[in-house]
Symmetry: C4
Subunit: 217 residues, 4 copies
C-alpha cells in the first residue's frame, strides 16, 4: 500500500484498519448460528405440569442448534486467536495481502454452514457427506491461513522487526496444517467419526499453540 519511505504513522493506521475490518467479519461469522436459537412456539396449555413438559421437550429438541452454535463459536474463536497472533508480528500490509486476508475471511464466514450440516446429519446415514464437507472446508481454511502467513513472511518488509523466534514458531505450526486436514478429508470417506474426531484434535492443537509460546516468554 505504501512506499518503504512512508512515515511510521501511516503504516500503523493501515494495519489497524485491516484488523478492524477483519474483526467485524469475525464477529459476524462467530455469532451467525445464534440466529437459529429461537424460543419455541409451544401450545400454551392450561395445566402447569403438562405445559412445562412440552416446553422442556421442545427445548431439548433444539440440541443440534445448540451444539452447532457452540462448536462454530469455539472453532471460529480459535481462528480469530490465530489471526490475531499473525497480526502481532505483521506491521504493515500491501495490496495483495489485503486480498489474501479477504480470501481467508471469506472462508471463515462459511464455517457456520458445514458446522450446522454436521450437527444435523452426523447421527444420520448421510454422516459421511457432512463429514467430508466439514473436513474439506477445514482444508481450505488451512490452505488460506498458510498462504496469508507465507505471504506475510516472504520477506521482512511486512513484519515487525525483532520477532524472529515467534515467526519461526508460527511457520512450523502452519507447515503441516493443510496436510493434516487433507488426511481428515480423506478419512471422511471411510468413517465420519474418525474424520471429525481428527478435525477436533486439530482445533485443540491450534488453540494450544499460543500456550507453548507463552511458556517460553
Amino acid at each position: 500500500m505504501s512506499d518503504s519511505d512512508e512515515p511510521v504513522r501511516a503504516e500503523e493506521k493501515t494495519t489497524g484498519r485491516v484488523e478492524a475490518f477483519s474483526d467485524g467479519v469475525f464477529a459476524i461469522a462467530i455469532t451467525l448460528l445464534i440466529l437459529d436459537l429461537r424460543a419455541p412456539i409451544a401450545p400454551p396449555g392450561t395445566v402447569p405440569g403438562a405445559a412445562q413438559q412440552i416446553l422442556l421437550h421442545q427445548l431439548a429438541a433444539m440440541w443440534p442448534n445448540v451444539v452447532a452454535y457452540l462448536m462454530s463459536f469455539a472453532v471460529i474463536l480459535v481462528m480469530w486467536v490465530n489471526h490475531h497472533r499473525i497480526f502481532t508480528v505483521v506491521r504493515r500490509t500491501d495490496h495483495a495481502f489485503l486480498f489474501w486476508n479477504g480470501l481467508l475471511l471469506m472462508l471463515v464466514c462459511i464455517v457456520p454452514f458445514p458446522t450446522e450440516l454436521l450437527a444435523k446429519y452426523f447421527l444420520t446415514p448421510a454422516a459421511k457427506v457432512a463429514a467430508a464437507v466439514y473436513a474439506g472446508h477445514g482444508l481450505l481454511i488451512a490452505i488460506a491461513f498458510t498462504i496469508v502467513w507465507r505471504y506475510a513472511t516472504r520477506s521482512d518488509r511486512l513484519l515487525v522487526p525483532g520477532r524472529k523466534a515467534e515467526v519461526t514458531k508460527l511457520t512450523e505450526q502452519y507447515r503441516f496444517g493443510p496436510l493434516m486436514y487433507l488426511v481428515a478429508f480423506a478419512l471422511a470417506f471411510v468413517s465420519a467419526w474418525a474424520s471429525i474426531g481428527l478435525c477436533l484434535l486439530f482445533a485443540i492443537f491450534f488453540s494450544l499453540q499460543g500456550f507453548t509460546q507463552r511458556g517460553q516468554g
Copy 2:
C-alpha cells in the same frame, strides 16, 4: 501473547484488538432481538377507522417482542459496561485470556434466547421452565465474568499499574455474583416471579457499581 520485555506499543495494540472484537460481538448480541420487530401485515381495509383499529391491535400484540428487545438490550448493556470496566484496568492479554474472554462472549450472545423465552412464557403455565433457563444462563454468565476477572488479576502481569483500589472494588463486586444467580436459579423451581425479580435486582446492582466508584473519584 508477548514477552514481558515487549515494547509498550505492541501491548496496547493487542488489548485494542480484543476490545474491538468484543465490541463487535456485543453490538451484534445487543441488537439481535430487533430482528423480531417487523411491521405487521394487516388487511388494508377501506374504512380508515377500522383499518387503524386493526393495525393498533396488531402493534399491541407485539408487546412480548418489544419487552424482550428492551430487556435484552438493557441487560447486555450492563454486561458491556462491566466488560468495559474490566478492560480499563487490563493493559495486556495472553493466550488463555483470549479464550476466557471468548467463553464470556459466547454466553453473552445467548442472552437474547432466554430473554425471548421469558417474554413469551412468563405469563403461561410454563413460566417456571422459562425462569429456570433465564436464571441458569445468568449463573453461567456470572461464572464466566468471575473467571475472566480472576484470571486477569491472578498476578500484576496483565494489569495497568497503580489501580489497586479499583481492582479490589471489582474483586469484591464479582465475588458473590455466581452465588447470587445460584439462588435465583434455585428459586425458579419455587416461583418464576421471585426468580426473575431477583435477576432484575442483580442487573440493577451490577449497573449501579460504577456509580459508587465515581463517587470516590
Copy 3:
C-alpha cells in the same frame, strides 16, 4: 470511570471504546432493512419477453422495501453524524454517560421498525397510526439526544477544553429538538402527510447543522 488525576492515555482509550461499540450498533441498525431486499422468486417461464415482464413487475412491487431501506439508512446516517459531532467535543465518559448513550443506541436500533411501518401503511387508510408511531419514536430519539448532550455538558469534566463555540452551537441545536418532534407527533392525529413532512424537514435541518459550523471554520 476514572479519577480526575488519571493520565491522558487512559481517558482516550475509554472514549475510543464507547465510540467503537456505538459504531458497531449504528452499523447494524443502518443496514437492518437491507435484509428485506431479496431476489423475488419468479416463475421462470420460457418466453424471454414474458419472463422479463414478470420479473420487472416483481421488482417494481418491492418499492416499499426499497423506500424503507433508503429512508432508514438516510435518517440513521444523520443520527450517526450527530453522534459523531457530540463525540468530537467529548473527551471522556463516566458511568452514567455510558448508560445514557446506551439508551440512545437502543432507540436508534428501533428506527427501521417505524420506517418499515410507514413505508407499508402510509398509502393505506391506517396512515395516521403509522405516522404517529414514526413521529412518536422521533420524539423519543430527540429526548435521548438531548439527555446525552445535556449530561455531557453539565460541567467541563467530560469535554475537550477550548471548544466553547461548538458546544454552544450544539446546545442551541438540541434545545428545540423534543418540542419539534412533539408537534410532529400531535400533527399525526390530524394529517399523516403533515406529520411525516415535518419529520423529514427536521431530519434535513439536523443534517444541515454541520455545514453552518464548517462555514465558520
Copy 4:
C-alpha cells in the same frame, strides 16, 4: 467538522471513527449472503447410500446461493480495498464528506441484492433484466466512488500532505469508472453475457490498480 487550526490529535480521531463505522457497514454487507447458506433439510432415510445421494443433490442445488455469496464477497472486498486506499490519503473529514461517504456505504450494502438476482436469473429467459439491474447498480457505485474521491481532492484541506503521486494515480483510475459501467449497463439490453462479462472485467481492473502502485514503491 473542524477548524483548520485544530490540533493534530482531533483530526486523526475523526478519520478513525469514519473508517471504523465504514468497516462495520462493509463487514455486514460482505457477509450478508452467507445467511442464505443453510443446511438443507433432507428426508433422513435409512439406507446410507441413498441418504448420501439425496444430501449431495440438495447441496448441489444450492449452487446459485454459493455463487452469489462468493461473487458478492469478492466484489465488496474490491470496494473495501478501494475505500481503504482512498482513506490512506485522506487525513480529515468534514460534514459533507461524511454524507458522501454515507451515500457510498448505502449503495455498497445493496450489492448482495443484484448479485443474488443475477445468480438466480442469469440462466433464465429473464437474464437481461437481472444484468441491467446489476450493471445499473455498478454504475451508481462508480458514480458514488467518483463523488467521494472528487470531494476529498477538491483542495488539499482533507488530504495527507506529500502524497501527490498517489492522488494523481487514483484520480486517473476513477475518471473512467462511471463511463465504463454506463457501457456495461447499455450492453445489458443487448446481451446479458456481454454486460456481466464487462462488469467482472472492471472488478478485476479495479482490484489490480493497487498492484501497479506497489510496483512503483
